[in-house]
Symmetry: C2
């Protein structure tokens, strides 16, 4: 039917897209802190934004424009332009007046909340942009905040008729990541010939099982944004192929974000089955991935399945002690009332938990609902990073 | 109308009540680990239990008895007797068969989940009880798990006609404390002449604004229990006086539990006003007191009001950037769109946050709903305690 292979070039992998990152002096030590994505022909836009009621100025600015096409996205780190009221939106207008040759330019920001945008620095920085540059990795680095590595991917999709299209993407996010879309920014480019409506439908659907299935600390940011830009330049498209490739792109980036969770040492998949319905399974998966007691036990590599059971019970969904099964990878530690946890099993489980990646499975035994969420542990580094983020 | 004064004697302050703690070898180093409360005349019981679906064997055992009176409560620490199925309940029957001279004895447990009760040790330990002892502080110590101090209080209430009654109580709880009743145990005795029904009504009401308003880590335990025993021996009673005294007792113990939050260094009151209704205010207060980003900022003494605003927005209730007011004690840092946060204000706020106790107020400006919740910060010690609780 179609073939999907990994490609190089990040957000520039799609035809006609350019990107770069520069240093405008927002971060210390001349670190990259401003990026752009430019397409040399106009793009349809699909988007998903935070559910936070205090959504930041860039989101207000975007929403105020109604339906529109664009060819330019400006991104800054270090300042979120959130809780800045009307002046925050005016600041964006002023900044973007410096690229009035672009078609409806978009701005996106991440960083500290409640401080006005350093407009002068940003406007100066924009003068350093060369919109014909293809430095996707610089762009991916410039949007980082507490991220310890940049996050990029590109896929090339070849259809049966020999035609092909690409999807490229970059993301940032490490802390403040929560199932309900949180500060993560993700920018996806494609040259697939997809309609705006279909692109939005597919983006919404894929977001549910990727970015909305991850959690670092259960907090939801003011700035979360996923932007998908399509310039249709390849002329190629197939709905199933596009959806699968988009899932692969977003799934990869979502897991990269969890892997980079502030101070995280482990990537844990919570696989919930047997719930009354999928919604219940999602509640359990996210309650587990958000539980401080579970996360600290993971950090300590302590196979404390009692905390898993207790958290399932605390999640509020239909669940019974006599129906529940709990496993670490393929080791079943509690089987519907049978305690399978002796000293030998504890040792085996501790080995599983010493790995960088493993799965905690809970079968609730009451229905056919299932959901997979992804989380990480919480250790000293998380506290260290977050106890003094502003300085 | 009436007069309430502090008294000594903890759970033994009420007439006819006895209590002691002994060491049965459940904890290391002969630490106290078993306690009893005995009344030399029968008691009516009011109770509140955890909302966790995996509620522990002692709660199943209690509920299976239906309506009953008692004169004896046996409490052990170190083992929660949770996730132990029917054998967990049978184990309680076997243990309590060793005090068959008591009237419907009750058992209550706290500790590790998913391990069977060490019955032999407990039964041996019971032989050390002298039910005519009044050592309330030993009892309060014996029920501790990760608590760093024991928690007790007693009040004497004198009515206008000169009659008087007492309320005495002890509690344990440090981690795993959550607004929806969590491992905390609290045992309250009174000699007030109060009916079972009225006692239960008042207990339910007072629980909402005391134990259900505190949070250490947002997790809800399998064993949470508040038991209120009344032997009516004083012959005295007044509803308002009883309610006020019970509130004072439970409010004090709830705050003691937060103050003893695992690794906590600060006790923070979240005072929410101007919400659409009280339920919304409660959601905001509890979302704030559970937020990892807020808790780590508190630990770092970082007046990061942006995280407060973001968390209000993330809580899902009706809230607007232009209506919100945020204060640290009486310092207003954000006033309905006006950023009041300059370097001088930041310094002043940092001073407030350096205190052991302070209040974070949020006025949502959309209605008349209010709620107060109590929380603590989260630092390295929390991680240390919880990364390896089992060993």
């Amino acid at each position: 039917m179609y073939n999907i292979v990994q490609a190089t070039g990040g957000v520039c992998a799609s035809e006609g897209f350019f990107a770069d990152g520069i240093s405008a002096g927002l971060k210390k030590d001349n670190a990259l802190d401003m990026a752009f994505i430019y397409s040399d022909s106009e793009c349809e836009i699909a988007s998903v934004f935070t559910t936070n009621k205090m959504f930041a100025a860039p989101i207000k600015h975007f929403r105020a424009k109604g339906e529109f096409k664009t060819n330019f996205v400006l991104i800054n780190s270090k300042n979120a332009n959130a809780m800045t009221g009307k002046v925050g939106v005016d600041d964006i207008d002023e900044v973007l007046s410096n690229c009035s040759e672009m078609l409806n330019p978009i701005m996106s920001s991440t960083g500290v909340i409640g401080v006005r945008l350093p407009k002068e620095k940003i406007i100066k920085g924009m003068k350093l942009f060369d919109i014909k540059k293809k430095n996707p990795n610089n762009a991916a680095k410039a949007i980082m905040t507490t991220d310890s590595f940049s996050k990029e991917i590109a896929l090339k999709v070849t259809l049966d008729d020999g035609s092909s299209f690409s999807i490229g993407a970059m993301a940032k996010g490490a802390g403040m990541i929560n199932p309900a879309m949180a500060t993560m920014l993700c920018f996806i480019t494609t040259d697939a010939k997809v309609s705006k409506q279909e692109m939005q439908e597919i983006l919404d659907e894929v977001t549910k099982t990727t970015f909305n299935a991850i959690s670092v600390d259960g907090d939801t940011s003011t700035n979360d944004t996923v932007l998908l830009l399509s310039n249709s330049r390849s002329g190629a498209y197939d709905r199933e192929a596009f959806k699968e490739a988009l899932f692969k792109v977003m799934h990869f980036l979502a897991l990269e974000i969890v892997r980079d969770g502030e101070g995280a040492t482990k990537l844990v998949t919570y696989k919930i089955t047997g719930a009354k319905n999928n919604a219940d399974a999602e509640v359990v998966a996210k309650t587990l991935s958000d539980s401080l007691l579970v996360k600290t036990a993971l950090f300590g590599e302590d196979p404390n399945w009692g905390r898993i059971a207790s958290t399932v019970g605390a999640s509020g969904v239909e669940a019974y002690e006599q129906m529940l099964k709990i496993s670490f990878d393929n080791l079943c530690v509690y089987d519907r009332g049978r305690l399978n946890f002796d000293a030998e099993m504890e040792k085996k489980c501790a080995v599983v938990m010493s790995h960088k990646k493993f799965t905690i499975s809970c079968d609730l035994g009451v229905g056919a609902g299932s959901f997979k969420a992804y989380g990480c542990d919480l250790g000293y580094e998380y506290v260290k990073i977050n106890a003094d983020y502003r300085t």
